[in-house]
């Protein structure tokens, strides 16, 4: 989509020789335009919910709320959180993950842990969990159970394929290249419980409440800058917390090969190529937004005005 958007933007901008937008500038405007539209989904979602409650929204193809949910869910990710220390887990961010979260939707917690420890060997190969201090058989570990292994920079959430002896498991990964990795095993039948987000002003009182203190079947968490703290504090195993969140869209990048004396040619095969992640239905919005930014940048009030008018009409049409 990014190439067609760029071609359209250039065509409109060049129609009256208003100016040229370089690939670097285009990428900056494209990033900003995509973020604008992405953030606007949430405001529009809220507006349409109010309209739905006022019975001015339809169903099926007229169900705008559902359409917006689908657009937002394109950015939904679920993954295990990296354990920082005891019951504190890192939120997804650039330092340990490609996906930076935009908002956390729900945190899920495994109620019980079958076994946990630290791997102490790699003799079984890159697909083995070896811990000579454990007897996995007597712990009740069986094929199909889940193993969370904390390696440098992330969590591998794996499935047990076979038990080899009593202290070794074969799992569906070939990325376990080192020993000394903390791990935890969860029964496939263990249910996940949703942890509730609680504000810092409430958590202290909640923890001492006799009726509503967080328990393993009704856990809670508080959020800080880069971490979440789980309650009760017995929730502290590797991979015990899974987060479903909405990530930020990846920065779009129109990549090219430079031709001598000519225009840059679009190169979709570049390693850093990144298309827009918004649905195709937002293509015209993207073009309008980019034109606005381009218009502002090259100080052409006409372009800005034209793009702005187009967007206003679009918004009016969509409600």
């Amino acid at each position: 989509m990014i190439n067609t958007v760029r071609n359209t933007v250039l065509a409109i901008a060049n129609k009256h020789n208003f100016g040229y937008i370089t690939p670097a500038d285009f990428n900056l405007y494209a990033k900003q335009a995509q973020l604008d539209i992405f953030e606007n989904y949430f405001y529009r979602y809220n507006e349409w919910l109010a309209k739905q409650n006022a019975r001015v929204s339809g169903s099926q193809y007229a169900d705008i709320v559902k359409n917006l949910e689908e657009a937002i869910d394109l950015f939904s990710v679920e993954e295990s959180l990296y354990r920082n220390q005891s019951n504190v887990y890192n939120t997804p961010n650039e330092t340990n993950n490609d996906n930076t979260y935009y908002l956390m939707n729900k945190a899920l917690v495994y109620q019980s842990v079958l076994s946990e420890g630290t791997t102490d060997g790699t003799s079984g190969g890159n697909n083995s969990i070896v811990d000579s201090t454990q007897d996995f058989t007597s712990m009740g570990v069986s094929v199909g159970d889940y193993v969370a292994v904390q390696i440098e920079g992330g969590i591998l959430f794996l499935t047990v394929i076979a038990l080899v002896g009593t202290d070794q498991l074969t799992v569906n990964s070939t990325n376990i290249t080192t020993s000394g990795n903390p791990y935890a095993i969860y029964s496939a039948s263990t249910s996940l419980k949703e942890a509730e987000r609680v504000s810092h002003s409430k958590i202290t009182m909640l923890n001492v409440s006799n009726l509503t203190a967080p328990k393993t079947n009704t856990p809670a968490y508080t959020q800080s800058e880069l971490t979440v703290s789980l309650y009760p504090s017995t929730i502290n195993a590797v991979g015990q917390v899974r987060l479903q969140y909405i990530r930020k869209p990846k920065d779009p990048k129109w990549t090219y090969t430079t031709l001598e004396g000519g225009e840059p040619a679009f190169n979709q095969g570049a390693s850093d190529y990144q298309d827009f992640e918004l649905p195709a239905s937002d293509e015209s919005n993207l073009i309008s937004k980019i034109l606005q930014y381009a218009g502002i940048s090259i100080r052409e009030a006409d372009i800005y005005q034209a793009a702005s008018n187009k967007e206003i009409k679009e918004v009016q049409k969509q409600g």
Binding site: L49, Q52, E196, N210, L211, T212, P214, N217
Partner: protein
């Protein structure tokens, strides 16, 4: 798929305890109540929205507690040995008593609650009647004479009855005891205090039941109500399904009633909903069966002299 297989129900899938699931179908768990409420009654297009789960959990537990006090008829029964000092410690989840009985000679004898005080603390005093204190300035407390007299059987009681064999004197003929019936009418009997069995009083502050002296070393059966919180083990908290809808209505009302900006008519509707569902559930649980009514009505045509 069935909620629970026959094997799980009867034998707990071979695990211990075997009786874990017996009769479990009568009940809905606290977790299910909260989950169902959050799913069905909370949302952007529902009366209740933007509510934390711990709020719902709190009101669900409060609703269950209230039901346990008077509506549920979930009476717990525990058998205790009374100590030498004629006291027994209250059960750990005790809230209020329903009936306390002496079990003796194969018979349960319901005991009467003593409305008079039969226990007390005692402040230690010197010869000049001055109260004594410890080094922290707290009053020195000892056991009261009242308590001692009760345990020793010295304390007089207003609860009197004819006693065994109507209090009549007996005489022995050929190794057998013969007792006469009392002759003549007895007037002025205070039925409120006419009781031949031992008595008891709940010492709430000390957490014990103080019995009259004859209860020492006897077996007592305490029927009591708890609050259904199962000592804080949420996994065990459950509710009879007859009250399921009531609890949802109770939670909804409790939340709407304490929320800012909810129209009064909505709060009132929720309140009526709650009250009528409680009434319905109580009627259902009263178990008025035609068969039972028939048994009672059999005596309707009986001739009375």
């Amino acid at each position: 798929m069935a909620y629970i297989t026959g094997y799980q129900y009867y034998e707990n899938s071979g695990s211990s305890p075997e009786d874990k699931n017996w009769g479990s179908y009568q009940y809905i768990s606290l977790e299910d109540i909260v989950n169902n409420f959050m799913l069905m009654y909370v949302g952007n297009d529902k009366l209740v929205n933007n509510v934390e789960r711990y709020n719902v959990l709190f009101h669900a537990k409060r609703g269950i507690q209230e039901l346990n006090y008077d509506a549920l008829k979930e009476t717990k029964v525990v058998e205790l040995s009374v100590c030498d000092n004629a006291t027994a410690v209250l059960p750990p989840d005790y809230i209020n008593w329903v009936r306390i009985s002496l079990y003796k000679d194969g018979v349960l004898m319901p005991l009467t609650e003593n409305v008079n005080t039969n226990f007390s603390k005692s402040y230690l005093q010197d010869n000049n009647c001055r109260v004594l204190f410890d080094e922290d300035g707290d009053i020195l407390v000892g056991s009261g004479i009242l308590d001692g007299d009760r345990a020793d059987g010295i304390q007089k009681t207003q609860y009197l009855g004819d006693g065994k064999m109507n209090g009549a004197l007996g005489y022995q003929i050929e190794g057998k005891w013969i007792f006469d019936y009392s002759i003549g009418a007895r007037y002025g009997l205070n039925t409120e205090t006419a009781n031949v069995n031992p008595t008891f009083k709940i010492n709430k502050a000390s957490g014990v039941i103080s019995f009259s002296s004859s209860m020492a070393d006897q077996i007592v059966v305490v029927e009591y109500v708890s609050d259904g919180m199962e000592n804080g083990d949420d996994a065990k908290v459950s509710l009879n399904k007859m009250f399921e809808d009531y609890v949802y209505a109770y939670i909804k009302y409790a939340i709407l009633n304490s929320k800012f900006g909810v129209q009064e008519y909505i709060v009132n509707r929720a309140k009526k909903d709650k009250s009528s569902l409680l009434r319905n559930a109580k009627i259902r649980l009263s178990n008025i069966h035609p068969g039972r009514l028939l048994m009672n009505m059999r005596g309707a045509q009986k001739w009375l002299k």
